[in-house]
Symmetry: C2
Subunit: 433 residues, 2 copies
C-alpha cells in the first residue's frame, strides 16, 4: 500500500451477537478488498475454538459467561486468532478481518491494546452488526447456523434451540459499541438490520471510507445470480478477439437451449418479472440475451462490454503474435496487468465493472448477466472470492450457465452445460483475451 | 448515467442551521462529482433570495418564523430554486444539489412531494450538517458569513450579531431529520461536527455510497495546499514527453529560488514539520522536492507519476505526429479521453489520483505537491472545481508555485512566479502531454 494514501495496516474487527451476519460481512469485506488487489485475510475466532476444543463440547453451556473455565478457553482462542492476525500483518499483509463476537468493552480493550503494542501505528475499525428484526435472526440461524461445523452431528431442532441459548448467554453481557463506553476516538461502524441504518464514528482513510460505501450496498435477501456467455460467435472458432461479430450457426443453434433453461427457471419461480437481465452493447451478447424470455427486456450496459483489445481487435492470436510479438510476450508473462495497445487490461476491467458489482450486490431480485469471457471472469471472480491474480484464468466456458447463490460460509454454485453436442467437453481450455 | 447502475436522477438536499457548513459541503459535492464527469449543478436558495429581495432587507427579522410575509417570501425563493433544479434534471442533468436550511419537516415534505410529482422515480438524499462545537460555528461565521454578499455594506461586528440572531430565528423551529419525523424510508445522512460522527438511513446506490465515502474525508480545518511542477527537465526545451529525464541547467538553477520561497513560508509559520511534502517517483520531481527544506522529507508516490505516454515516451511532438499520425489527430480531437498506446489518458489519470484527492482532503496539515503538468492538472482541477473537459487544458506553468486555501464560497488562490529570468512570461502556452 502506498504511503500517505494508505500508510497504515488496517484491522476490521467485528462486534455483535451470534447470528447477526458478522461472518457474512467479514467474508464480503475479504472478497471485495482481495479482488481489488489488497493482501487481506480473515481470522475467525470460532474456527480457532473448533480447532482447539472440537465441536462436541461447545454447547450453549460453553458460552455461559459464568462458566469461568470456558470463558478462559474462549479468551485463549481469541488471543490465538489475534496472534496469527498480527503475524500476517507483520509478514506483509495489508488488511486483516477479526471475526468474533467481541461483545464486551473489556474484550475490545484487550484487542485494541494488543494491536497497539504489537503493531504500533495502525488503523482499527470496529464493525458492529445489530439486528432488531427477529425474522432475519431466525432465518440466519436456520440458513447457516444449523449447518455450521458446530452442529455437524446434531439434529436440526436441537441445534436451533442450543444456538438460541448460546445467543442468550452472550446477550447477558453484551455491551453495544458507543463513544461513552469505548471512547470518543474509537473508530466504529454500526450496521442496523444489515444496512438500513448506519452509524459511523471517526471513520476516515481511503480504504476505510471505500469499504463503507461497499458495505452500504449489501443485503441478505437470498437471490440467485446467473452468468452466461453469448452463443458462439463467428470469431470464436478462429480465435479472433474483440470486435463486434455476429453469432455463428452453432451460436444461433444454442439460443433455444438457453431459452429452455430459463423457461424452466421461470416455471420454478426462481426468476420472473422483477429479474434484472443485463447484457453488453455488443451484437453477440444482445442476440443471446434476447433469447431469454423471463418477462423482462435485456438492459444493455457499456460497462459489460468485453475487454477492449485495442489495436488487436478482430485479430487472431497468431496474427497478434506476428504483428505485436513484444506485447504478445508481455501478455503471457502478466495477463492481469497487460494492457492491449489502445485497449484495456484485466486491471482496467476490474475498475470498470466495480460499479456493476455494487449494483448486483444491491439488487434484491435475481440477476442474469449475459456477457463475455474476460468481463465475466472479473465479475464471477468477485462473487466467488478469487485472488485477483487468478481472475484472468478463471474458466468461463461457452454454452454454460453458471448459477450462484451467495451464502455466508460458502457460495452455492451450479454449472449447467447446455452444449448438447459436447456434453462432456463444453469448451477447449484455450485462453482467449 | 448508465441504467441499472445509476438509473435515477439524484437530488442531494441540505438540512441544517446557518453557519453549519452546508454550502461548503454542497460545493465539495459539486466539485467532486463534476470532476468525475457527472452533469451536476448547485441550487442555493440564498442566492435566489438575494436575487429577488436584495440583501438590504434581509436582516435577521427577515428570518423570524413569525414574520409571515417574510416566511412566504422565503418559501417562494425555495420554490424558485426547486423549479430551476427540476428543469436542470429534466434537461439532461444527472445530479442536483439543493442548498438551503430545510429545517422543518413541513418544508422537507414540500420538497419531496414536488420532486416526486415533477420527476417521478428519482433518488432524494437529505444531508444534514449538525454542529455542536460553538468554536466551529463562531469560526465559520467570522470566516465566511461576515464576507457573505448579505453583509456587503455592513460593519463586521454588526454583521456577526445580526447573523447570530438569524441562527436564533431558525433554531426556534428547527426539527432534526429523524425516521420518526421524516419516515423510515427517508434517505438521509447526518454529519456531526463535519464528519466525526455520521448517521445514515436508507442510503444505497452507487453514487450515493461513493459520495458518503468522499464526505467522510472532509474537514474544515484551514490549511494551504501548494502545487509546483518540477524544475525544467532536459526534455522540456525539446518538447519531449514522458521518460525519466534529469533536470536541465535552468531546472537546477530554479531550485534555490524554490527553496527560498518555502523558507519564507516556513518563517511565516504557514508550513512546518507536520507539512506533507509529496512528489512522484521520477527523478526530476524528486530532485525538485528535495530542494524544499521545511523540516520534512519528501514522500515519493507512484500515483503522482506523470501521465504515462506509453509508446510515445521520450518522443517529441513532431516525432509523435510522424510515427503515430492517427493517434496524434485523435489526441487533438479529444484530449480528455485520448489514451496513449500502451499508456494512459487524462480520464485514467483522474481515476488514478482519486485516492490522493481523498488523502489531501483528509489532511489537516498543509500539503505541498511537487509533480508534473498533467497529473497536477487533474489534482488542481479538482480543488478549483473545473469541469472535467477543461482539466487537460489547465495552465500549470513551470517555475510557479500555486497556493490554494480552500474556502466555502470560493478558494483563495495565489500564484508565485519564481522565474526571475522571465518574470512576465512564465512559460509558453504550449500544450504538452
Amino acid at each position: 500500500m502506498e504511503a500517505f494514501i494508505t500508510d497504515k495496516k488496517i484491522v476490521f474487527a467485528m462486534v455483535g451477537l451470534p447470528a447477526r451476519g458478522k461472518t457474512y460481512i467479514s467474508q464480503k469485506i475479504v472478497c471485495y478488498l482481495s479482488w481489488l488487489g489488497f493482501k487481506i485475510r480473515l481470522f475467525n475466532i470460532g474456527s480457532y475454538r473448533r480447532q482447539n476444543y472440537g465441536t462436541k463440547e461447545c454447547t450453549a453451556e460453553f458460552f455461559n459467561p459464568e462458566n469461568e473455565q470456558a470463558l478462559e478457553a474462549r479468551k485463549e482462542c481469541a488471543k490465538l486468532a489475534l496472534r496469527d492476525l498480527v503475524g500476517f500483518l507483520k509478514d506483509g499483509g495489508d488488511i486483516a478481518v477479526y471475526d468474533g463476537t467481541n461483545t464486551t468493552q473489556d474484550r475490545r480493550k484487550m484487542v485494541a491494546e494488543h494491536l497497539q503494542s504489537e503493531l504500533g501505528s495502525h488503523s482499527l475499525v470496529w464493525i458492529e452488526s445489530i439486528c432488531t428484526d427477529q425474522n432475519i435472526i431466525d432465518n440466519n440461524i436456520r440458513a447457516t447456523k444449523v449447518s455450521s461445523p458446530d452442529y455437524k452431528e446434531i439434529d436440526k431442532e436441537t441445534a436451533i434451540s442450543d444456538f438460541k441459548r448460546r445467543i442468550d448467554q452472550y446477550s447477558k453481557i453484551y455491551q453495544e459499541l458507543s463513544t461513552d463506553l469505548d471512547g470518543e476516538e474509537t473508530s466504529f461502524i454500526k450496521l442496523y438490520n444489515v444496512t438500513n441504518k448506519v452509524i459511523m464514528n471517526q471513520i476516515t482513510g481511503y480504504i476505510e471510507s471505500k469499504l463503507v460505501s461497499f458495505l452500504m450496498n449489501l443485503h441478505i435477501t437470498p437471490r440467485s445470480i446467473y452468468f452466461a456467455r453469448h452463443g458462439e460467435s463467428v470469431y470464436n472458432p478462429d480465435d479472433r478477439v474483440g470486435g463486434d461479430p455476429d453469432l455463428s450457426e452453432r451460436g444461433y443453434a444454442y439460443l433455444p437451449r438457453l431459452r429452455a433453461f430459463f423457461n424452466e427457471e421461470l416455471r420454478a419461480g426462481r426468476v420472473g418479472q422483477t429479474t434484472k437481465l443485463l447484457t453488453s452493447t455488443l451484437k453477440r451478447a444482445i442476440l443471446t440475451a434476447n433469447a431469454i424470455e423471463v418477462g423482462v427486456k435485456p438492459v444493455s450496459l457499456k460497462v459489460l462490454d468485453e475487454l477492449d483489445a485495442g489495436v488487436c481487435n478482430d485479430l487472431n492470436y497468431d496474427q497478434i503474435a506476428n504483428i505485436y510479438p513484444q506485447q504478445f510476450q508481455a501478455r503471457l508473462k502478466d495477463k492481469l496487468n497487460f494492457r492491449y495497445p489502445m485497449g484495456e487490461s484485466y486491471k482496467d476491467l476490474i475498475q470498470r465493472v466495480e460499479p456493476l458489482i455494487f449494483a448486483i450486490e444491491r439488487s434484491k431480485d435475481p440477476v442474469i448477466v449475459v456477457g463475455h469471457r474476460a468481463v465475466l471472469r472479473c465479475i464471477y471472480g468477485y462473487f466467488t472470492r478469487q485472488q485477483v491474480e487468478d481472475v484472468p484464468h478463471i474458466d468461463i466456458p461457452l454454452s454454460t450457465v453458471i448459477k450462484i447463490d451467495p451464502k455466508a460460509y460458502h457460495n452455492h454454485e451450479e454449472r449447467f452445460n447446455l452444449d448438447v453436442e459436447n456434453p462432456d467437453q463444453p469448451e477447449s481450455a484455450q485462453e482467449n483475451v
